[in-house]
């Protein structure tokens, strides 16, 4: 293997008649250049190994599958893999009930699974494909008439950066929450519009923009602000992908799910 850890996201020139494998904890991506085409295969990883690496393999060792996808792109050469955030909002369900008391504030570090994007670098840059690296559930946020389709993610709410594992397929989203209301803020779920966020690469970790939310009461609109600078938790962060839909923030009455929505029974 020629790259491990965070360096799997570096640009690479795929050798002629060779196949490249990006191996992530839950998925492997295989890419091969054949004349004017990119051949791509995405397979789930069943091993419990959490390692990530990139390696060059001979064409004879590539997996035989009918699910290889073919993309026509005349310019070969340098390929740029980049971590991008999912294409829909992510609803985060904490593993434990947590209540933020009135007047309190805190920072959570949320691990958002990233997608793998492969682009052809150079003067004829073009996006080849996007592929999720983890399986997220589908979920609905809001009432059945006006809500929105999201990805669901059950995760821990980390208060400290030390407890967050460095992972190449997750971007850490720092979320600062202030409870300015006079009521308790019960976290059952939090909807994060990840399509508005960029991804930054650090020494060991991937990051998203920081978020700042002010909760002013269950009947008030909650304003979520996006900090456009790289998060200040690590020096020398480099932006590796843009937001799918750039925005300054979003406001939504129910960013914090405090109610159990009806199931019609």
């Amino acid at each position: 293997m020629d790259r491990t850890g965070i360096s799997v996201w570096e640009a690479v020139d795929i050798p002629h008649r060779k196949c490249l494998q990006w191996r992530f904890p839950a998925r492997s991506i295989w890419v091969e250049r054949v004349e004017t085409e990119w051949h791509v295969l995405s397979l789930p990883e069943r091993a419990r190994d959490r390692s990530a690496y990139r390696r060059v393999v001979a064409r004879s060792q590539k997996p035989a599958s009918s699910e290889w996808r073919h993309y026509l792109h005349r310019a070969g050469g340098l390929m740029q893999p980049s971590p991008v955030l999912p294409d829909r909002p992510v609803v985060i369900r904490p593993d434990r009930a947590l209540t933020l008391l009135p007047g309190q504030s805190t920072v959570f570090y949320l691990g958002i699974p990233v997608w793998f994007r492969l682009s052809a670098a150079g003067p004829r840059a073009a996006r080849v494909f996007d592929e999720p690296l983890s399986v997220l559930t589908r979920t609905w946020f809001g009432d059945p008439v006006t809500g929105e389709l999201c990805w669901g993610l059950a995760t821990r709410l980390h208060h400290s950066l030390d407890s967050v594992d460095a992972s190449v397929d997750c971007a850490i989203c720092p979320l600062m929450i202030e409870n300015e209301s006079e009521t308790d803020l019960d976290f059952q779920k939090i909807c994060i519009h990840v399509e508005n966020l960029s991804v930054f690469r650090g020494r060991e970790r991937l990051w998203t923009n920081s978020l700042h939310a002010v909760f002013q009461g269950p009947d008030q609109v909650t304003q979520i602000e996006i900090t456009h600078e790289p998060p200040g938790f690590e020096e020398g962060l480099v932006q590796v992908s843009d937001a799918r839909q750039p925005a300054a923030g979003w406001s939504i009455r129910r960013t914090f799910g405090m109610l159990k929505y009806f199931t019609d029974f």
Binding site: V135, R138, W140, P144, G147, G152
Partner: protein, 287 residues
């Protein structure tokens, strides 16, 4: 030869007739082009963000009323007195109105439908036994395309008096699977298996939560309802996958579906009371 005949015929016409003919032609052509242009400009620039249904209604209003205005202008150019024509049209209108009560009823129903908006272009609706995608909503009828690619026209009057189900009005739906499991099954295990089926299905939403309900004791088994929420576009994938998943998992877990059956249990053999004939024979037997 033919062209020469036309030229000769034109030469026989008086300049007055020629001028009038030219004006009629210009009025008709310019009028129709203007109507068309107005419709296009309205659609492209003024109603860019409107719904398909609203755009279609406005396009038809512009088209029909513009056509009537052009016809009236052409008739005016031809020297037809419009007041007399309109008077005659009123009388004819009353006669036609009496003769076409059904059409009028459909038109009025159409206006109600347009204002009430129970569905829009592209929605999937069910009326009676017909299910399909709405292709057009007109004053007299709506046209739908069924999933087996049939064209169905339904009069507005019938829609107004029928129960209409708009299947795709809301973004998510619930798929209810109702089946029976055999008596004697461990219901807790059945419930757990169904919960796993719901959790593992890639199309099923985890929120709103799936519904698992043991609804009734039936003749042959216990009726179970499995309700899974899904995004409305995923209906076919969802239904196929969840049916297959339930069958596969039940098979793997040795959970049996209930089938209609009748248990016949013969009485235990025992001494019966002698029948009357047997008793009579017994009495008649000489000792």
């Amino acid at each position: 030869m033919f062209f020469q005949q036309i030229v000769n015929w034109v030469h026989t016409l008086s300049p007055d007739v020629l001028t009038r003919g030219l004006r009629v032609a210009i009025t008709a052509v310019l009028g129709l082009v203007l109507v068309r242009l107005l419709a296009v400009v309205t659609q492209r620039y003024l109603m860019r963000k409107s719904t398909l249904q609203r755009r279609m209604i406005v396009r038809k209003i512009i088209g029909y009323s513009g056509f009537v205005l052009v016809v009236l202008a052409v008739l005016g150019e031809l020297g037809v007195k419009l007041t007399a024509l309109l008077g005659a049209a009123g009388i004819v209108g009353i006669a036609v109105g009496f003769a076409s009560q059904t059409s009028m009823s459909n038109i009025i129903s159409g206006l109600f439908l347009i204002s009430e908006k129970p569905f829009a272009l592209g929605d999937v609706i069910r009326i009676g036994g017909t299910t399909g995608i709405i292709q057009s909503i007109d004053l007299l009828s709506i046209k739908i395309r069924t999933f087996d690619n049939l064209f169905v026209r339904i009069p507005n009057e019938k829609i107004l008096s029928s129960e209409v189900t708009n299947i795709t009005r809301f973004p998510i739906r619930r798929l209810d699977l109702v089946f029976q499991v055999d008596y004697g099954q461990d219901l807790l295990r059945v419930r757990n298996v169904l919960a796993e089926v719901a959790r593992d299905n890639p199309w099923s939403l985890d929120e709103p939560e799936p519904v698992i309900l043991f609804s009734e004791f039936k003749e042959s088994g216990i009726e179970v309802l499995l309700g899974l929420w899904f995004a409305k576009d995923d209906f076919v994938s969802m239904k196929n996958s969840v049916m297959a998943d339930v069958a596969t998992r039940f098979d793997a877990e040795d959970i049996r579906f209930a089938h209609p059956r009748r248990t016949v249990q013969p009485d235990r053999p025992h001494r019966r009371a002698p029948s009357r004939n047997v008793a009579a024979r017994t009495r008649a037997t000489p000792r």
